[in-house]
Amino acid sequence: MVAFWILSPIMVIAALGILFSRKAVHAALLLAVVMICLALLYAVQDAPFLFVVQIIVYTGAILMLFLFVLMLVGVDASDSIVETIKGQRLMAIVGGVFLGLLLVLGVGQVSLGSVAGLRAANRGGNVEGLAQLLFSKYIFAFEATSALLITAAIGAMVLAHRERLTPKATQADRAVQRMREYAERGVHLGPLPSPGVYARHNAVDTPALLPDGSPAEISVSRVLTVRGTMRSTPTADVDVLTGEIGDGTSNLPITGSGPRGGIDGDPSGRTPHGEDRTARHAHEHGEEA
């Protein structure tokens, strides 16, 4: 019975944590701790079937459902401090302490007699014993349970269902709307330009460059712009790059810090020979001219 004295403090502390945790996610995780400890206590008390069901149904299914709903509702949905009923919190705590005292004292004074133990009942196996009871003595309760589960499933589906108020836009509808926007406001008809992937950075947060070297803001996803994570294009980037790797007219070797030479290295003048080679490059051009 070492398990009980190890697990019970953990369970009480975790349960108190549910009471005092600010965030609902922490409460859910602490509830998982309580439930797993409870499952272990079931295993200690000769209930292996309930041990497995507790892990699978409670910790696996129900708590995951809680976490899914928390994800949908929003993790930061915290408690309001305002009391609708005056002094309700204090009264609840006082009442809770009295209830706890009453229960603990009442249960503590009951003498349960000698523990019979489940050795005889579990002789043919715990699951078999439970099945025999379920399908004989409790058969009607078991049938009612199936009706309850089906009702609950259908009820959840009805509650979670949302009626569509507007008809779904088909591809043809969207094409018509695009044409109308083009006719009325001159919005570009074709697809949006792709971002500056591979032009300078291997990332979608860099805008593509227009022929005059200015960044095309429309080429970056709207979400990134709203989040403010759009990377700014360095000015005169292309010039430095051509100076770095050559523009096709010279046969300078490509050297740099990256695995493929100057293309991968940062060409913004930080390579040790960048300045030097650009100068030489210009010099060569001068000679050719």
Partner: protein
């Protein structure tokens, strides 16, 4: 080991769940506290099954688990519906059935 320590632990967990239902305002946390109370009663049932030496208590705990699962499904669906119309999961906000 006698059943009394298990029953006292069960009573403590039940009390904590009860206080949680009364004090917390987030509907989901209130729901978790209800689950805690159900679990505490399950522990008492399993303990009684061991003390009495028959499996009826474990069958009862099993039924409580089934009912709790059904209750969580419907309850969370209701919380989702309330959240969708009010953008809030606080039990104080849903004080009127309509509007």
């Amino acid at each position: 080991m006698s059943g009394s320590p298990f029953l006292i632990l069960s009573a403590l967990l039940f009390t904590i769940g009860c206080v949680g239902v009364l004090t917390r305002r987030n509907a989901i946390v209130v729901f978790m506290c209800v689950e805690l109370m159900l679990n505490a009663s399950n522990l008492a049932l399993v303990t009684f099954a061991r003390v009495d030496g028959n499996l009826d208590g474990q069958v009862a705990a099993f039924f409580v688990m089934v009912v709790a699962a059904a209750e969580v499904v419907v309850g969370l669906a209701i919380i989702m519906t309330i959240f969708r119309t009010r953008r809030s999961a606080s039990v104080d906000d849903a004080s009127l059935l309509k509007y």
